[in-house]
């Protein structure tokens, strides 16, 4: 249980505590997060002995087993080493940031984000599941985006943050694709299973693809060429962020991934060539560019790129010793680079600039800081007695062992020596330019030593540099051994890390690098005057920026083209896409009608057919005369009702008939509030385009219908037909489906209906308009009298339709609509105001009661420990009446009835009632 707690502490407690404690001052916030990180560190140390003894800890809980995502963690040597780095350096950063940030900066926000990042980073190194690893991976991208952009008022910070997120987040997606491939091959995303499936993965045809995808993830994160450009841009971050993310943690996630998956993906010629070549190029390129940077942090950023290249190069080589060297250099680089970044931050903090053309001779003002920086820089340059020397010498030795790689084998020793020379030169430049060589120029204030505790983190790291450098065997060796064993995936050959191995070739290379570097720096200063050198524009960054801007422009143009605010265009695009999608399968596979037996046509069918065709065509031709068009559309609706009646769907026919009546009434009352005719405004070209679209859509529907209707019928309805009477207690299968089998759907549908009606109510709320003159005047007396007399009968019929609905055509929907029709007739006969006065209706309440009745029926089944809407039925005997068929679904149907009545009448009455309040005429402004 300890393992997840190590991660969850900073993730949950740390983020919240930082914000809470910041109210009590900066010290309180620092103490709070330090306590959280310290607790995590203590927990890690508790588990350390077991791991050092060679017993990795794996714990697992199922999370989403269906997709292979488990909440599983693993603490092995490699993870332990990284966790100690993350937590140890994290603690130092917490202390440093307390003094670095100014009182104007929100320290709570900073610590909270830092904790989030720390948790994500711990998640990466301690997880056992690849999908979980990906989640933490992207979480580091997100939290680093927020940290880099911490000073969000600065445009530079925002740009750097965006670029880092785009590059590392995008690389993460490629990595996910690679993980999915690997998981598919291995059959599991658990690291243990993936490690066991090494051979299967190597033999799989997708091995190279998976490898490249995972490498893109690792290279973007670890700023390898050509993805390196985001790292210098990220230097806009506050220096504690750079010291943490860009030396010890975030950028190390990439090399961690390489190390983690080395036992799975490594050992192939592709892996060796790609990884070590990219590493070598990055190593030399980064070191070269670093020499010409004027910004201290810029120099350190390129130096970091170069050192990450060095580690990548080592991890690429197919040799157990290079794995040891890589792991060793990960630790060493983290220590000296973090301390150098912190020193750069101190200089910036005290002098107000990081520009080495202004900073000179600071030795006089801050000798203590200068000493610390010099030790760290010596370690970076690979000077003996410091830790950087040890790993660098191992690296030189490994570069000499590449004979099997043909060309690379010859190039590598020369290239790494040049890399060494450059790295000595830029280290020298950092020290000489900042601390010696004249007086500072143009500083806003006289620099002095920083507060006592701001230097302490640097001191701790520098002591580590020296301790490891002098006594490697007593400091990091045990940890290194277990970590390297996990990288190699087996026992290590004997090796010896020591300062003195006798006069060897690697020692000579170290000597050449140091002497060459000094000469190089001297030459550069003398011949070219580094101070005046203007750095060339960064092509990779420009490329990124240009493609980014291009994408944004493209997206803007696409949006402007597609979404221009015209419904006509949207609908045309929609119809076109549907036609294209519908036609696609036919174009692919050809169009074939089936050969099922057809139903013979009769005279009635032909008549209805002709009626539909004529009415539909006429409604288009005459659509500008709106009143006529409404009638014609109504005729098509009646034809639909006749079709239902003709083809054995009595329920549908009844529904369609009654809906047709209320729809026509609705269209007519609404038409009274609108112009009576359409203006002739469509141009011929537009009419032609629309006609083509319409004909294509019509032809498509006809073809599809014909293709289906001529094929044999297969259905799942036998279940409903068979179970309707025994299970549903009703013989009208359509009604039983609606109120029983699919009752939950119906419940949703009456809610939608209610929402639509209430939406109409809200839309028309407070509208003031008058209707056209012809709406005035009273109805014929005969109609008025007849309607009043008819109402009780109509309601009686409604009750009959409702009650018989379960067994014969009818039911809540139809009864509701028929009731609505009867009441609409009252409105028409008596006039709106008189009917409203008489009935005093509140239709929103009726809708509410309906939905509630249906809902309560559903909930009632819980009382009997049955699921929502379980129905029951019986045939109780009543005195006088005799046996009555009863089903609980009838109560549900009553809810449907009420909701339909309420929704229909609310819609109609609200639209009819609009404009009854004020006589002010609304003019057509067009």
């Amino acid at each position: 249980m300890t393992l997840p707690i190590i991660i969850l502490l900073p993730l949950l407690a740390g983020t919240v505590l930082a914000l809470a404690a910041a109210r009590f001052g900066r010290n309180a916030a620092a103490w709070a997060v330090a306590a959280v990180a310290g607790a995590s560190l203590a927990l890690t140390l508790l588990e350390m002995p077991a791991v050092l003894a060679g017993r990795p800890l794996i714990v697992s809980w199922e999370w989403l087993p269906s997709i292979g995502l488990n909440f599983s963690f693993r603490l092995d040597g490699l993870g332990l080493m990284f966790a100690l780095l993350i937590l140890g350096i994290g603690l130092l950063i917490i202390l440093y940031a307390r003094y670095y940030l100014s009182p104007a900066d929100s320290i709570g926000k900073f610590y909270s984000l830092l904790m989030l990042f720390m948790a994500a980073m711990l998640g990466i190194v301690l997880t056992e599941n690849l999908l979980l690893l990906f989640a933490f991976w992207e979480l580091t991208s997100l939290s680093s985006f927020l940290l880099i952009g911490y000073w969000s008022h600065s445009a530079e910070a925002r740009r750097g943050a965006r670029m880092a997120l785009a590059v590392t987040g995008g690389g993460g997606l490629a990595m996910l694709a690679g993980f999915l491939l690997i998981g598919n091959i291995a059959g599991s995303y658990e690291l243990s299973a993936v490690l066991d499936a090494r051979q299967a993965i190597h033999d799989h045809p997708h091995y190279t693809l998976a490898l490249v995808l995972v490498l893109i993830g690792a290279f973007t994160k670890s700023a390898q060429f050509p993805f390196h450009f985001w790292l210098p841009e990220a230097m806009a971050a506050p220096t504690p962020v750079s010291a943490y993310l860009h030396s010890a943690t975030m950028v190390k996630a990439g090399v961690f991934l390489l190390a983690r998956l080395y036992p799975v993906l490594g050992g192939s010629i592709e892996f060796e060539y790609i990884v070590s070549t990219v590493g070598l190029v990055t190593l030399v390129f980064g070191a070269y560019v670093a020499m010409f940077k004027h910004d201290i942090k810029g120099l350190l950023a390129y130096s970091t790129i170069s050192h990450l290249g060095l580690i990548t190069f080592l991890l690429g080589l197919d040799s157990p010793l290079s794995a040891v060297a890589a792991v060793f250099h990960i630790v060493n680089h983290a220590t000296f680079k973090a301390s150098l970044f912190m020193a750069a931050g101190i200089i910036d903090h005290e002098c107000g600039t990081r520009d080495m053309r202004k900073l000179n001779g600071l030795w006089k003002y801050m000798p203590h800081t200068a000493t610390l920086a010099m030790v760290a820089a010596a370690s970076m340059a690979g000077v003996p007695l410091f830790n950087g020397f040890l790993s660098k010498e191992m690296f030189f030795a490994e570069a000499l062992e590449l004979n099997h790689l043909a060309l690379l084998g010859h190039v590598a020793p020369v290239a790494v020596t040049f890399g060494g020379i450059f790295s000595v030169a830029y280290s020298l430049r950092f020290i000489h330019d900042v601390f010696f060589g004249g007086e500072p120029s143009g500083l806003a204030r006289i620099p002095h030593e920083p507060p006592r505790y701001m230097k302490m983190p640097v001191e701790v790291l520098v002591v580590v540099c020296i301790a490891v450098g002098v006594l490697p065997a007593y400091t990091v060796m045990p940890l290194l051994a277990v970590a390297a064993r996990d990288v190699v995936g087996g026992p290590l050959p004997p090796y010896d890390i020591a300062i003195w191995h006798g006069f060897t070739l690697p020692l000579l290379m170290s000597a050449i690098a140091i002497v060459g570097g000094v000469i190089m720096y001297w030459l550069l200063q003398r011949k070219f005057n580094l101070q005046l050198h203007a750095p060339a524009s960064l092509n990779a960054r420009l490329l990124f920026q240009n493609s980014h801007d291009g994408l944004v422009r493209l997206a803007a143009a696409l949006t402007a083209g597609l979404q221009n605010g015209s419904l006509q265009r949207y609908l045309a695009l929609l119809v076109t896409s549907i036609i294209a999608l519908g036609a696609w399968p036919f174009l692919q596979n050809g169009y074939h009608a089936g050969n099922a037996a057809l139903t013979p046509a009769n005279g009635l069918a032909a008549a209805v057919w002709a009626m539909t065709l004529v009415a539909a065509a006429a409604s288009v031709l005459l659509h500008r005369e709106r009143f006529t068009a409404v009638i014609l559309v109504g005729v098509v609706g009646l034809a639909a009702a006749l079709t239902f009646a003709c083809f054995s769907a009595p329920d549908l026919a009844l529904t369609q008939f009654s809906v047709e009546v209320v729809t026509t009434v609705l269209l007519l009352v609404a038409l009274a509030l609108l112009p009576q005719t359409d203006p002739a405004e469509s141009r011929p070209a537009r009419k032609f385009r629309d006609a083509v679209l319409a004909l294509a859509a019509g032809a498509g529907v006809a073809a599809l219908a014909w293709a289906v209707l001529t094929r044999p019928h297969e259905t799942i309805s036998w279940f409903y037909l068979g179970e309707s009477v025994p299970a549903g207690g009703g013989s009208n299968v359509v009604n039983v489906i609606l109120v029983d089998f699919r009752g939950f759907d119906t419940f949703g549908e009456i809610i939608v209906l209610g929402i639509a009606a209430v939406g109409v109510f809200a839309l028309m709320d407070g509208m003031r308009a008058t209707r056209a003159a012809q709406a005035a005047g009273s109805a014929p007396l005969l109609l008025s009298v007849a309607a009043r007399a008819l109402l009780p009968f109509a309601l009686l019929v409604t009750a009959f339709i409702f009650l018989r609905g379960h067994n014969l055509p009818g039911g809540g929907f139809i009864a509701g609509l028929v009731t609505a029709v009867a009441l609409v007739m009252q409105y028409m006969a008596d006039g709106f105001s008189a009917t409203t006065r008489r009935l005093r209706p509140d239709y929103t309440r009726v809708i509410g009661w309906g939905i509630m009745t249906a809902g309560v029926t559903g909930v009632a089944s819980w009382v009997f420990r049955a699921p929502f809407l379980t129905s029951t039925h019986g045939h109780p005997r009543l005195p006088v009446v005799g046996e009555v068929p009863l089903a609980s679904a009838a109560v549900f149907d009553l809810g449907v009835y009420l909701a339909v009545v309420g929704a229909t009448l609310l819609t109609l009455s609200v639209i009819t009632g609009a404009g009854r309040h004020a006589p002010a005429p609304a003019q057509e402004k067009v």
Partner: protein, 116 residues
């Protein structure tokens, strides 16, 4: 019978789509109505055409038409009314607020008037 149904569906759909693409709200709502008829009958017809075989269980019935598409379409018809009502109310209110019943608002109608 199948041919009559398929062709009538095609014609109704074509007319509905044409009206749907008009520039004023009222014909658009009419087009939507026509399209709903076509869609409802289409879905219903997916259960194939059967004469004199209502899906009401009876002891002497030989065969039944498919009840499932019918149940689907029944609610669709009622919801269709709710939708028509809502769109109509939207159209009426939009005309009231903008003074124009063009689907793209008053500005588009004004522009069109100028072009003409």
């Amino acid at each position: 019978m199948e041919f009559l149904l398929a062709s009538a569906l095609g014609v109704t759909t074509a007319c509905g789509v044409y009206l749907l693409l008009r520039g004023r709200t009222f014909p658009v709502v009419l087009g939507l109505s026509l399209l709903s008829y076509a869609v409802n009958v289409f879905i219903f017809a997916m259960g194939r055409l059967a004469v004199n075989a209502p899906p009401v269980i009876a002891p002497n019935a030989a065969t039944y038409s498919d009840p499932l598409p019918q149940a689907l379409v029944l609610t669709a018809i009622v919801i269709g009314f709710g939708m028509t009502g809502f769109v109509m109310a939207l159209a009426v209110r939009a005309r009231h607020e903008t003074g124009s019943d063009h689907v793209d608002g008053a500005a588009a109608a004004h522009e069109k008037a100028h072009v003409r």
